[in-house]
């Protein structure tokens, strides 16, 4: 199978970046096995320096990413977006988390000084766990 696919039609911008990174999981047997019977989870990733947030939906062993405009702020409320966990930081920090370049200690420091804002941290930590399946 070629990884070079043309005609990409998924979400654009930050949500597109997340989708490109994460949607290959849909062809991972290990991921499917781990999440097909798990409770559905919806994690909202908001990149503070872009216009769109990405809503990550893991359900029935499949992952899907939707783009949501992050202004006005009410678009990102739990009620409006329907998330179980929420994380907000710069795209750079997201990149570091996604590629495993941010240790727990560094992440904690960023949480303490407000560089990362989180609601329902245990749900959000699943994002890191999900990314780990890319290397399996």
């Amino acid at each position: 199978m070629d990884n070079n696919t043309s005609g990409y039609s998924g979400p654009r911008g930050f949500a597109g970046v997340i989708a490109q990174q994460i949607e290959p999981l849909n062809s991972s047997l290990a991921f499917k096995k781990a999440y097909e019977n798990a409770k559905p989870v919806r994690i909202l990733l908001n990149a503070t320096n872009t216009d769109h947030a990405a809503l990550l939906i893991v359900e029935n062993g499949k992952v899907q990413v939707k783009g949501i405009e992050n202004k006005p702020a009410s678009n990102l409320s739990r009620k409006s977006a329907g998330w179980d966990g929420f994380i907000s930081c710069s795209t750079r920090t997201f990149l570091e988390i996604a590629l495993g370049r941010l240790s727990m200690l560094k992440m904690l420091l960023k949480l303490l000084n407000g560089d990362i804002k989180v609601h329902a941290i245990l749900k959000v930590l699943q994002f890191k766990k999900i990314m780990e399946y890319l290397g399996k």
Partner: protein
Amino acid sequence: MVLDKDIHAELAAIVGLANIDDSDAMTDVYAYNWCMEVVNQMEGKDPVPYSPRPLAVVLPSTTDEVVGIVKACNAHGLTFKAQSTGLGPWNNPSTDNCIILDLRRMNKIVLIDEQNMLAVVEPYVSGAQLQIELMKLDLNCHMPGAGPQVSPLASATSMSGPGFTSPSTGHSSRNVLGVEWVLPDGQVLKLGAAGLEHEPGWYSGDGPGPSLRGIMRGLHGAKSGLGVFTKVGIKLFPFPCKVNWKVTGLSPHYQFEKPELMKWYIVDCKTYKSAEAFVQRVEEHEISFICSVLSNFGVSAIFASSIESLLGNAVLAMTKVPVVVLVAGRTRREFEYKTKVMQCIIEEDGLENMAGTKFEPPSISYAEALRSNLGLHGFIATGAFQSSHGIIDTLGVCLNATKKNIPVKMKYINNEQVANDFGEAVWSTSFEHGHMHHAEMLTLYDQTNPECVKGIADYFNDCNAMDLVQHLGIPFFIDGDARHDWYGPQCSNYNTWLRKIKTALDPACTADAGFYISPEKASNTTRNEKV
């Protein structure tokens, strides 16, 4: 400045009126080049991608015409800058008193000697053109790292010369089997066996008598600062696998039916120390066609043809210190031997091959491995990139420099002046299966943003200073008077000797010295007065 009408007529008489142009439109085009804005910024000028405009562009088609133009420049106090395929600011004039010799009409493959495995080419023969002809004979050439679109002659005679296939095809400087060289005064000199009075040939690049190869090109080439090379003999190699290519699809989404006896290995060594040990073992066994130490983004880029596919290579982006090896065999027995040795090394080092398990390399990556590999992919993310350092030393020194470069680059990443690659971007390869190693640190930037151009220029100055202070060798872009005179006193005063060479061959500085060095008491000024 404007070209004098009489000089125009004199040059036109040499090349024909259709092959000289001094119009604004044409000379403006020749003033533009990739990365010129960085050079300008580094010299304290406006960060625009333009050099001084040449007086005219002249297109000779024979060595005699080149001689005529060079003699005319000498007679009228003009300088000249020769270019083959013309990629990069080294092809541009450094003064407003310069004629461009565009050698694109000198585009012939003069000779392919199948039995003795050598070829003789003119300046505008590209690596791709040569390779196509060689493949018909089951032969291959060393492809410059800049890509198959550039001139093997320029790489062999006037530039640096590492390539992605360097483990198996060496370095451009070491593949030279003689040159035909128009000196800055218009004399023609033939080096190597081509210069023999009786039975001349192209089988040796050195002599007759003492070798002048070092004077001709040194470490990183004189970049036309010592005249014009009109022919070069180069060493050839057996093609590494079957030569039948089947490519379908449209650019950039080609599909390639890969030859049977080729295999990628993508190994995440996690640490530089582990990568050093792994690469040394692979090269000791002489089994690689390509063997490169890369960064996570570098390895992602090699296997991507667009931003979308680059982002889709997350599994590669999660690597720490990836090493990429291509094994190829001309026979099944050779291929099986090499892959068996690779498997043993991987197992003994406790590593894992991600290719074919966690990541499926796109089929076109096999075709690109035979030609270009990383080069063109460096432009995908931002449209502009350039390398710093350019070390030639042991693998240990190369990887040590890679580590030391991280905090230097992070300063500019944190300022958002260059792209965030965690400061780790590197391409390091061996030459001739570990004989020597090369490392350059690639940087992506936005050439349209003056702050980014300022950032990359300052970063390159920091890299140059780091190499000098920490004894990491002479980088790629130590060129021009100011930089040579900065480095020289710390490096055996080589600048004094370089200047003596220039003075002996070109006392009037007719060959543009902007990316080389000026002779003693030069009348023509050169670039980089400010460093």
